[in-house]
Amino acid sequence: MVVNTSLDMDIKKLVRDNLPYRRPFLFVDSFDELSEDLAIGRYRYKEDEFFYTGHFPGNPITPGVILTETAAQIGLVGLGIYYLIKEEKVGQVVPLFSSAQVDFLLPVYPGEEVRVHSQKEYFRFNKLKCKVKMTNERGEKVCEGYLSGFMIEKS
């Protein structure tokens, strides 16, 4: 793969395009920032996301597990893919979510956009651990916690 890392805008788009997820389980619209220690990105929950029909009927609220997944796709996998692109390894490695410790503070409704801010705690022995914070459009904290995962070589 040919990667021009001098164009900052391109790498954000490249990371977005190289995420392994697809609809209806892709929860990343774009990245605002990506660096060695930091990932910031956003996602707007569509009115017709598949989980709203059951969570809850007539009272749609974004499930905490989906908020966690969103934080992980942006904060953990986004950062991981960014490292891989820098090392020109994309495609040979699969991200594996290993642990989440998250507090949920406010509900997120259909149509709302969230912003994920993820700070690297460490990346050692293929394990990436990040401190993540999610905010809504009013800048209010929606959830926060710690997420970890591994980068596994595809066999």
């Binding site: 290993s98 050692r124 022995f125 394990k127």
Partner: protein
């Protein structure tokens, strides 16, 4: 630091990661971290990071592969210490 002291410090580091149903008292140098102590493999990295902090050493990718048992971990720690 003697081997005994190193072992005692390591046991304290490992203690919070031991799996359900495994008795801390049963831990010996022969105990395998994953198979005997039922430590989640994802937590082995956290144990290694705690070891680095506690003993002020840096453990590389090759050395972590030698840290399968409590005893072999003590060996790696002793080898890395100045």
């Amino acid at each position: 630091m003697t081997r005994e002291e190193t072992l005692d410090k390591l046991k304290e580091i490992v203690k919070p990661f031991i799996g359900d149903g495994v008795k801390f008292e049963s831990l010996t140098e022969a105990s395998d971290l994953i198979n005997d102590l039922k430590i989640n493999s994802a937590h082995v990295v956290d144990i290694v990071l705690d070891i680095e902090t506690e003993f002020d050493i840096v453990i590389d990718d090759d050395s972590i592969n030698d840290m399968n048992t409590i005893g072999s971990s003590v060996d790696v720690i002793i080898k890395m210490m100045p």
